[in-house]
């Protein structure tokens, strides 16, 4: 993508065009903003994305349904399990597959830990951008604990691919309960620590309150979703409005604010972390017993032990691994609430073993479209705070 075609109008002595990014530390990846400035005021802002485009949607079309799970991790690499979940739910909807309660609850628990993980990265980097460096160190300390939990479950810290079509990839490891409990018992006090550092900090308030304000109408029209909408007073959350994976059985609040500025978004996300802790605790304590994968030999790989003793299991294993499974013709649009907002998977099947088309409606792409509206007319220093409050991931934007 080159610079916008229309050159900025009349250059006066105070006018200049500033190229922010794609290597700017506060753009959190490779985002380029072309800012047309009048002194320190932003007259016009153009976004340039696509530096991280890797053609993942094309890649889906040559992978079997199960193989493609690994592609979803790479899209939003700060919330890999949310991506896994959205994709698996979409394919399971096409298949009409029933997922056992244990797998559903495990999925809820792990996606909420993912939300914590993602919000911690957001908080740390957002505070770092605005100058509160120590918060970053605290956040990454706790994030490390979460990544270790992911490693315990899946063997991977970031590219987990732990959810598979039909349930989970592996049996939950021995000792997971104590491990998660240990973390979740400590974590609320850690959130208090972050809040001690920021919530009533005069510099923090000065840099965030009244900054990046946007009306709810503009946000809805521009495709903004997630915590940003909730910070503008709209109580919308796919976990409540269109529950998936048993979320209707959990008791939690959807925090909202009405100020719609950077500070309100900060408060909303902090409260979301506390709510996620509640959900994790409920999932952990009430974890149902039973199988962790669906009982459908055409889709789900058989147990290793069965393969050694049963001919059918060996055949099914061979069939699934070599050619995959067929998915009935049709199309679905599955929405989940990712840490960033509405994550939608539009999966089209032509009846074959590979997806005919997968489109990912990623929250970062929708949110970024609102950046010009948010920063135009404000000071350049506010750009950093404003885009930090959006919590976008460029892998999620460019796919």
């Amino acid at each position: 993508m080159s610079a916008p075609e229309t050159p900025p109008p009349q250059f006066g002595p105070r006018r200049m065009v500033l190229n922010m990014g794609p290597q700017h530390p506060s753009t959190h990846g490779v985002l380029r903003l072309v800012l047309d400035l009048d002194g320190e005021n932003i007259v016009n802002c153009q976004l340039d994305i696509g530096y991280l485009h890797t053609g993942i949607e094309k890649e889906f079309e040559v992978k079997t349904y199960q193989q493609a799970v690994t592609l979803t991790d790479r899209v939003d690499y700060l919330a890999p399990l949310s991506m896994n979940l959205g994709y698996c739910l979409a394919v399971e909807k096409l298949l009409g597959l029933e997922i056992p309660p244990r797998a559903q609850w495990m999925r809820v628990m792990l996606t909420e830990l993912t939300r914590l993980n993602s919000h911690l990265v957001w908080l740390g980097t957002h505070a770092l951008d605005i100058g509160a460096m120590s918060v970053f160190l605290y956040c990454f300390r706790e994030r490390e604990d979460i990544l270790r939990i992911f490693e315990m479950f899946s063997g991977q810290r970031m590219m987990t691919s732990y959810f598979r079509i039909g349930g989970l990839a592996l049996e939950p490891p021995r000792g997971w309960h104590e491990r998660v409990k240990k973390f979740i018992d400590v974590f609320p006090s850690r959130i208090d620590e972050y809040e001690d550092l920021l919530t009533s900090n005069r510099i923090w308030i000065g840099r965030t309150r009244g900054v990046g304000v946007m009306t709810l109408e503009d946000m809805l029209d521009l495709g903004v979703t997630g915590p940003m909408l909730r910070a503008a007073g709209l109580k919308t959350d796919a976990r409540k409005d269109e529950p998936y994976s048993s979320y209707e059985k959990f008791d939690f609040e959807v925090p909202t604010r009405t100020e719609s500025d950077v500070y309100a978004r900060y408060l909303v996300r902090m409260e979301e972390m506390r709510q996620s802790v509640r959900i994790v605790r409920q999932a952990m304590d009430g974890m149902p017993a039973g199988p962790w994968k669906a009982d459908d030999p055409h889709v789900v790989l058989p147990d290793r032990e069965k393969m050694k003793t049963q001919m059918e299991a060996l055949i099914y294993h061979f069939k699934i691994v070599t050619e995959g499974f067929r998915v009935p013709e049709g199309e679905v649009y599955q929405v989940i609430e990712s840490p960033r907002g509405e994550l939608g998977f539009y999966v089209v099947s032509d009846g074959g073993a590979k997806p005919y088309r997968v489109h990912m409606r990623t929250p970062s792409f929708g949110n970024l479209e609102a950046v010009p509206k948010m920063v135009e007319g404000t000071l350049i220093a506010n750009v950093i705070a404003a885009i930090g409050s959006m919590d976008f991931v460029l892998g999620d934007t460019d796919r």
Binding site: M1, S2, P4, E5, I49, G50, H53, G55, E57, K58, E59, E61, V62, K93, L94, G96, L220, D221, L222, G223, L234, T236, D241, E242, G330, E331, V332, Y333, V335, E342, G344, Y346, V348, Y356, R357, H359, R361, F365, G366, E369, D398, R399
Partner: protein, 157 residues
């Protein structure tokens, strides 16, 4: 014509009542409503849905390449009404030769980037779009990668 099984569905019936020619097909599958509409009607149907049926959000615009079938492309719109929570899929079939359809940016501003993405990856032109340029790929890129006749790897044949 609205299929008979959709006559009971309030949204489908409302679109039919708004403009009898606006619905050429549709289905209700896996609890999701899909309506097909002729490309010429897309802006008026979207305007009706946004202002009269509360579909305030456009979730996404994308396309599906049905090559070698004709009409080749399906442009797919996912609409969302927040209160009450409802979703709707609109579909327009567009021909393979010089595919073109009217832009819905006049209804939702968020369509801007989504339509640029469809233009970039499928080569579908959007008439009346304010700024139709490539968005993900470089400006000098040849071809449209999400078309089915575009190879996944290697050189083009």
């Amino acid at each position: 014509m609205l299929p008979d099984n959709l006559r009971e569905h309030p949204v489908a019936a409302a679109v039919e009542a708004f403009d009898a020619d606006a619905v050429t097909g549709g289905n209700y599958d896996r609890k999701e409503l899909t309506l097909e509409t002729p490309p010429a009607k897309i802006v008026s149907v979207c305007g009706f849905l946004k202002y009269d049926r509360k579909f305030v959000r456009l979730s996404t615009v994308t396309a599906v390449d049905r090559y070698p079938a004709e009409p080749r492309f399906e442009v797919v719109y996912h609409l969302h009404s927040v209160e009450p929570c409802q979703r709707l899929r609109l579909k327009c079939r567009v021909r393979g030769e010089d595919p073109v359809i009217e832009s819905v940016t006049s209804v939702w501003r968020s369509a801007n980037w989504y339509e640029r993405e469809v233009f970039d990856l499928f080569g579908i032109q959007f008439v009346n779009h304010p700024d139709l340029r490539r968005i993900l790929l470089p400006d000098d890129w040849q071809g449209h990668p999400l078309r089915k006749d575009y190879p996944v790897a290697g050189t083009r044949v």
